[in-house]
């Protein structure tokens, strides 16, 4: 084999991505392309196309979720009045991996800034209500074709077993979850990861709900419980995102057309969410240990598993 001279055949991944984006955006001129973040399942890039601020999400090899289904959920959510980004296009490339292009929404996603910075003082006063209203709208959406029901206890038991790191405390909690499971309800669209970090917040309140990759069908109360998990309070004292009370969230949810909230059911989902985040912490450390993503940040998350175990003790003792 003759190796082609540099720059001839193997152009940079960035240039290749720009070409792909031009092709799927009807020949638009791509500028200011920059990498925003990369997880195990996808990469996120920001750029302008003919001057418009956009975000591209690229599926990575090995990600089994269907990004085209996620794109359909984002489109349905926006049509249903949820502050979700406008979807420009979502396509599967020749290599089988999907790309999704979304409108970029101005605002902040970093929890610490949203919780502390002066410019978000007004947003903080209304964010819990905004979240309640957005969740009510998500849960009223028609079921999106391709979305499947996922029993969270089963899914995360399988994940825990796959990781192969035994945690007696998680088994104790798993038994509790199974023994205290709330009655089955008509499944709805569940965002699956609705919390600070995946919410774009502007000075006047909630501006965008992003990261729909974990969307599935299930009990809508799952989203309310997840939003209250202690990890997502980011050190704040108040139960809802560290910013507000359960009552405030539930009232906003019901006012915006959500189903009547049973606090005990939300509590069950909060326990499940804490258990699930503990398992996800193991998974993040494993992503580092397996070499999939070398990162001391991911490695350190492995030592946060016990924070969840501690929270679960408090929960089972009725002390949170």
């Amino acid at each position: 084999m003759v190796t082609p001279p540099d720059g001839a055949a193997d152009e940079s991944p960035q240039a290749a991505l720009a070409e792909t984006l031009t092709a799927i955006l009807d020949g638009a001129t791509i500028d200011a392309l920059r990498h925003l973040s990369g997880g195990a399942s996808r990469e996120t890039w920001r750029f302008t196309a003919d001057g418009r601020d956009l975000v591209a999400q690229l599926q990575r090899p090995g990600d089994e979720r269907d990004m085209l289904v996620e794109a359909a959920v984002v489109r349905a959510a926006r049509a249903g009045g949820v502050p979700a980004p406008e979807l420009l296009t979502a396509v599967r490339r020749d290599d089988g991996l999907a790309v999704m292009v979304l409108e970029a929404i101005d605002g902040e996603t970093i929890a610490r800034k949203i919780q502390r910075d002066d410019r978000f003082a007004d947003a903080r006063r209304r964010l819990v209500r905004d979240c309640g209203a957005a969740l009510a709208r998500i849960h009223r959406l028609d079921l999106v074709p391709g979305l499947v029901a996922a029993d969270q206890v089963e899914v995360y038991t399988a994940a825990l077993d796959e990781l192969g790191q035994p945690h007696p405390m998680f088994e104790l909690v798993r038994n509790w979850l199974i023994a205290n499971r709330p009655p089955a309800v008509e499944p709805g669209v569940v965002h699956g990861d609705f919390r600070l970090g995946n919410l774009i917040v502007a000075p006047d309140g909630l501006a965008g709900v992003i990261d729909w990759e974990l969307a599935h069908l299930g009990d809508p109360m799952e989203d309310l419980g997840w939003l209250c998990v202690k990890a997502w309070r980011f050190g704040g004292r108040s139960p809802v995102a560290g910013l507000g009370s359960y009552d405030e969230l539930f009232a906003a949810y019901e006012e915006a057309g959500g189903a009547a909230v049973n606090a005990d059911v939300v509590r069950w989902w909060e326990v499940l969410g804490t258990w699930k985040w503990g398992i996800m912490c193991i998974a993040q450390a494993s992503a580092h240990l397996s070499g999939a993503v070398r990162s001391h940040e991911l490695a350190a998350i492995g030592r946060r598993v016990c924070e969840n175990e501690h929270d679960l003790f408090l929960a089972l003792e009725g002390r949170w």
Partner: protein
């Protein structure tokens, strides 16, 4: 604790070396960085602090954990986890919880002692 007399190494000890690097990150690196890099420097300092605490507390915690497992009649966390899932501890809930709580407390004393007060 590992006895100093058992190792051929010179001072500083492993704990002293970790402390020196952590102090440099906390003093100089955090002051000279911002954004993502500063966040990652803070994470690095936290990681070193975890290892410092584990060097100090680890040996005593390991023997306490072996004693806990022995009281519960199992050899390992893996065996204990399997037994709990199989409902073999259903009649010993109070005892089990007390042992697990102590194990989790030990883990937090190394990973993030401040969390115990939260």
């Amino acid at each position: 604790m590992v006895s100093d007399g058992d190792a051929p190494h010179d001072v500083p000890s492993a704990a002293d070396l970790l402390e020196a690097v952590r102090e440099w990150i906390e003093r100089d690196v955090l002051a000279a960085t911002d954004g993502r890099l500063k966040f990652h420097a803070r994470v690095a300092a936290n990681v070193l602090a975890i290892v410092e605490r584990e060097l100090e507390l680890g040996p005593a915690q390991a023997s306490a954990h072996r004693e806990r497992l022995a009281r519960l009649g199992v050899e390992s966390d893996a065996e204990l986890a399997e037994a709990i899932r199989a409902s073999r501890f259903d009649g010993r809930g109070t005892e089990l919880r007390a042992e697990l709580r102590a194990a989790v407390t030990d883990k937090l004393l190394v990973a993030n002692p401040g969390y115990l007060d939260s």
